[in-house]
């Protein structure tokens, strides 16, 4: 409540030291801890400069502010930070228990954010990529049945791949291999039978929303049956709300 002096002085009455000191003491209390909502202007007046300024976490490349995190990473332009997915990492080119193998999923380099959450938060992770998949028509290839799946993962620990990855495989997305290899016409190789631009040039996008606490890594992982896929363009962005 607003400040109310304990003593009210009246003309003709003695002015005592105790009365003055009492009012001063009450004033000190009010000024230090007695300001309440009623003392504040009723209209909105807190401006952005009154709020704690956000900080840039140079390690993870995100901005942390009062309401949460935000940030993005991208390839930086054509082929600047071209990434890759490959069955050489996920060890599944020859097939097997693809559906069941949680451990075959591997992180796609540079596509992870590391966060130190201050409290329970909702994480919104967006991603997109274009990948050139194969052609992989060599011995052991699963041909047109070979895919690269990509899914966001999250893990405790703010460093990529330092905690157990949590992946919901049903939420993953896929692109198909350029399977049929190169077709010779006369004596000149004319390129893959199925054109990159329609079957093997995969454009994927995704968004995941989940709740997290404490330290967190969130990024992209893949499971590939294809010899190699060049992830030519890609981007990830992050929204975190406390």
């Amino acid at each position: 409540m607003a400040y109310s002096p304990p003593s009210t002085f009246v003309d003709g009455s003695p002015l005592t030291a105790a009365g003055l000191k009492g009012n001063d003491d009450a004033l000190k209390v009010y000024l230090h801890e007695g300001v309440v909502a009623g003392d504040l202007t009723a209209s909105a007046w807190v401006d952005t400069h009154h709020i704690q300024a956000p900080v840039i976490d140079s390690f993870s490349g995100v901005q942390h502010g009062v309401t949460g995190f935000q940030g993005s990473q991208w390839d930086g332009g054509a082929l600047v930070r071209c990434q890759f997915g490959t069955a050489l990492l996920t060890a599944k080119r020859y097939g097997g228990s693809t559906e069941l193998d949680d451990y075959a999923w591997e992180v796609i380099p540079q596509t992870t954010f590391g966060l130190g959450l201050r409290k329970t938060a909702t994480v919104v992770f967006h991603w997109w990529m274009e990948s050139n998949n194969g052609p992989d028509d060599g011995t052991g290839s699963q041909g047109i049945g070979a895919y690269m799946w990509v899914s966001e993962y999250n893990a405790s620990g703010a460093l990529a791949a330092t905690g157990a990855k949590s992946i919901t495989k049903e939420y993953s997305q896929e692109v198909v291999n350029n399977s049929a290899g190169f077709v010779p016409a006369l004596f000149t190789a004319t390129g893959p039978l199925l054109p990159y631009t329609l079957l093997g040039y995969g454009n994927m996008s995704g968004t995941s929303v989940f709740t997290a606490t404490d330290n967190l890594a969130v990024g992209l992982s893949h499971l590939s049956l294809i010899d190699r896929s060049a992830i030519i363009n890609w981007g990830i962005s992050l929204e975190v709300y406390y």
């Binding site: 607003a2 400040y3 109310s4 002096p5 009210t8 002085f9 009246v10 003309d11 002015l15 004033l27 009010y30 300001v35 009623g38 003392d39 504040l40 202007t41 007046w45 807190v46 401006d47 400069h49 009154h50 709020i51 704690q52 300024a53 009062v66 309401t67 693809t98 559906e99 201050r118 909702t122 047109i144 919901t168 495989k169 049903e170 939420y171 993953s172 997305q173 896929e174 692109v175 198909v176 077709v183 016409a185 006369l186 000149t188 004319t190 039978l193 199925l194 054109p195 329609l198 079957l199 995969g202 994927m204 996008s205 995704g206 968004t207 995941s208 929303v209 989940f210 709300y241 406390y242």
Partner: protein, 303 residues
């Protein structure tokens, strides 16, 4: 702190009780503390009440479990009569609807709120006889019978399935699904066709049903040998955003598949672009298969 505007006492002024009382009451300025009393960066996370900018969030799985393309797989059929388009809500292979169910805790918007929604789905278009050419029937759109083209007639490759969004804003019974604002119900008349105008496809994603390709060399002035195949499985992705202008209570969101359509351009009036049902291609019974996916939604406050 409080802004004190009383002038200081000067030599020769008389001191009265009222002056002294006023010195103290100057500190009682209800509603006076504002931006002038607050330093920069005075407020941090602990000072904010627990009213987050994010009001609601929800996620649901679509289709069937699993990530590979083995059974169970669901399917959607193509439209054979433009006056009664086939619209297939996403479900498991056994027919159990898969959608974002908010009926137990509906979302109610206030003016300024924003609903943001995203989905992805693994899809594959096919038809029973892969040697057939669905686009080759008389009056099919995008059918080019080019002289000298081995493999003709060929398609312009612009046919499409559409995956679009509906919501139920009537009741928790979830029996009143309607298209979300900005999304067509595919019943617009476009010349002699039925379909949707492109400006009315705010909550749609499209799927290409087939690929035509040419592995051979082309001689000048002629079309090379053309082959075709159905699209393999690939990821489809869409999003929608809704800035609320008032109270709307949302009980659920669901995705619906319809097709096969083809783009057209009106040469009259506003010369709008549209997509319309291409009935002849349904002769070959094309289907859109889907395996699994996800739908996410957020409600965020605007003030």
């Amino acid at each position: 702190m409080s802004r004190i505007t009383r002038g200081r006492a000067g030599v020769g002024d008389l001191a009265s009780a009222a002056d002294l009382n006023g010195t103290y009451s100057d500190f009682t300025q209800t509603g006076a503390l504002n931006t002038y009393n607050t330093r920069d960066q005075a407020f941090d996370l602990p000072h904010f009440t627990n009213t987050p900018i994010l009001l609601n969030k929800a996620t649901a799985a679509l289709g069937n479990s699993g990530m590979t393309h083995l059974a169970p797989v669901s399917e959607a059929l193509s439209t054979t009569n433009a006056s009664s388009p086939v619209k297939t809500p996403l479900a498991t292979s056994t027919g159990t609807a898969t959608f974002l169910n908010l009926s137990s805790a509906p979302w109610t918007t206030a003016s300024g709120d924003v609903i943001r929604l995203w989905w992805n789905l693994s899809v594959a278009s096919s038809w029973p006889d892969a040697t057939d050419k669905p686009w080759a029937y008389t009056d099919a759109l995008g059918n080019y019978n080019l002289p000298g083209a081995a493999g003709a007639p060929i398609s312009d490759g612009l046919h499409l399935w559409v995956i679009y969004l509906q919501w139920d804003i009537t009741s928790a019974g979830l029996l009143n699904w309607v298209e979300v604002p900005g999304q067509s119900s595919f019943t617009s008349t476009v010349g002699s066709y039925k379909g949707a105008y492109v400006y009315d496809l705010a909550a749609s994603s499209v799927v290409s049903p087939w690929t035509l390709y040419s592995p051979g060399d082309a001689d000048a002035g002629s079309v090379p040998t053309v082959s075709h195949r159905a699209q393999g499985y690939f990821a489809n992705y869409g999003m929608w955003a809704y800035p609320a202008t008032g109270a709307v209570t949302v009980y659920g969101f669901r995705l619906v598949i319809t097709g096969i359509l083809h783009p057209v351009h009106l040469s009259l009036g506003n010369e709008d672009n549209a997509i319309v049902y291409d009935i002849p291609v349904s002769t070959d019974d094309p289907k859109l298969y889907y395996k699994s996916g996800r739908i996410n939604a957020l409600q965020m406050r605007g003030s």
